[in-house]
C-alpha cells in the first residue's frame, strides 16, 4: 500500500482524472473531496462490502420451481 502524508487542502491525483483533496481534519475523522469522471463509482467501503456479500449470497445455482415463483408473483403488489 502506498502511504502519503497530506496537509489540509492538499490533494492527490490518481491516474489522470481522479483527484482527492483533504478538506478538513477533525479529531477522529477526515473529510475528503473526490473529483472523478461520472463513470467511476465511489462508495464508502463498508457499503460496498455489504452489497458485495449480498450479491454473492444471491448467486442462484438453484432456481425455485414454478409454483414457488407463482405464489410470490401472485402476492406481489406494487405499493
Amino acid at each position: 500500500m502506498l502511504v502519503v502524508t497530506r496537509k489540509k487542502d492538499e490533494k492527490l491525483i490518481i491516474g489522470n482524472e481522479i483527484e482527492i483533496q483533504v478538506l478538513r481534519i477533525g479529531r477522529d475523522n477526515v473529510r475528503l473531496g473526490i473529483k472523478a469522471p461520472a463513470h467511476i463509482s465511489i462508495y464508502r467501503y463498508e457499503i460496498y462490502e455489504a452489497i458485495k456479500s449480498e450479491n454473492l449470497n444471491a448467486v442462484a445455482s438453484q432456481i425455485p420451481d414454478k409454483e414457488t415463483l407463482d405464489k410470490i408473483s401472485k402476492s406481489m403488489k406494487a405499493e
Binding site: 463513470h39 452489497i51 450479491n55 444471491a58 445455482s61 432456481i63 405464489k71 406494487a78
Partner: protein
C-alpha cells in the same frame, strides 16, 4: 423442502443479446457479460446469467412490480451514465427467494440498470434513498 431446478435448464436462446457490464457486478468484477433470460417458467422473474461462468446466475425482477415509482429513486446521473433516461423496463433488482413468499426479498439498494440499445449495464448503490438490501417482495 421445495423442489428446485438447476439454472442449467435455462439456457440463453441464440437471440438473447449479451449485455456488457464494464465494471461487472459489485464484488464480482470477473463476470462482465450477461444474458437476461426470459422464460414463461420464470416469469415475472428473469435469469441474469454470466456467459463466462455457468455457475453465476441471478434471479432478477423489475423493481416496479414491488415499488411502483422505484425508478424515481435512481438519480438522473446514474441513468445518464449508461446513456438512457429513467425507464421502468430498464431497472432490475436481484432477488433471494426464501422458504415462503414473505421471506423472499430483493436488493432494492443496489439495482441494475440496462441500456438495451447499447447492450450495457451497471449495478449501482443508492446511498441517499432509504431502500433496503433485503426489501420484502410481498
Amino acid at each position: 423442502m421445495r423442489a428446485v431446478r438447476s439454472n442449467d435448464q435455462f439456457e440463453p436462446k441464440t437471440k438473447d443479446a449479451v449485455i456488457h457490464f464494464p465494471e461487472g457486478l459489485i464484488g464480482l468484477a470477473e463476470c462482465k457479460d450477461f444474458v437476461l433470460i426470459e422464460d414463461p417458467n420464470l416469469a415475472p422473474f428473469r435469469l441474469l446469467k454470466c456467459v463466462d461462468s455457468t455457475q453465476i446466475a441471478f434471479l432478477v425482477l423489475q423493481p416496479t412490480t414491488v415499488i411502483a415509482n422505484f425508478y424515481e429513486y435512481v438519480p438522473l446521473r446514474e441513468w445518464e451514465s449508461i446513456g438512457i433516461g429513467p425507464t421502468k423496463e430498464s431497472a432490475f433488482v436481484i432477488v433471494m427467494i426464501g422458504p415462503t413468499p414473505e421471506t423472499s426479498t430483493g436488493n432494492f439498494q443496489a439495482p441494475l440498470l440496462v441500456n438495451y440499445e447499447k447492450l450495457i449495464g451497471k449495478q449501482l448503490i443508492l446511498t441517499d434513498a432509504a431502500l433496503s438490501r433485503r426489501h420484502p417482495l410481498v
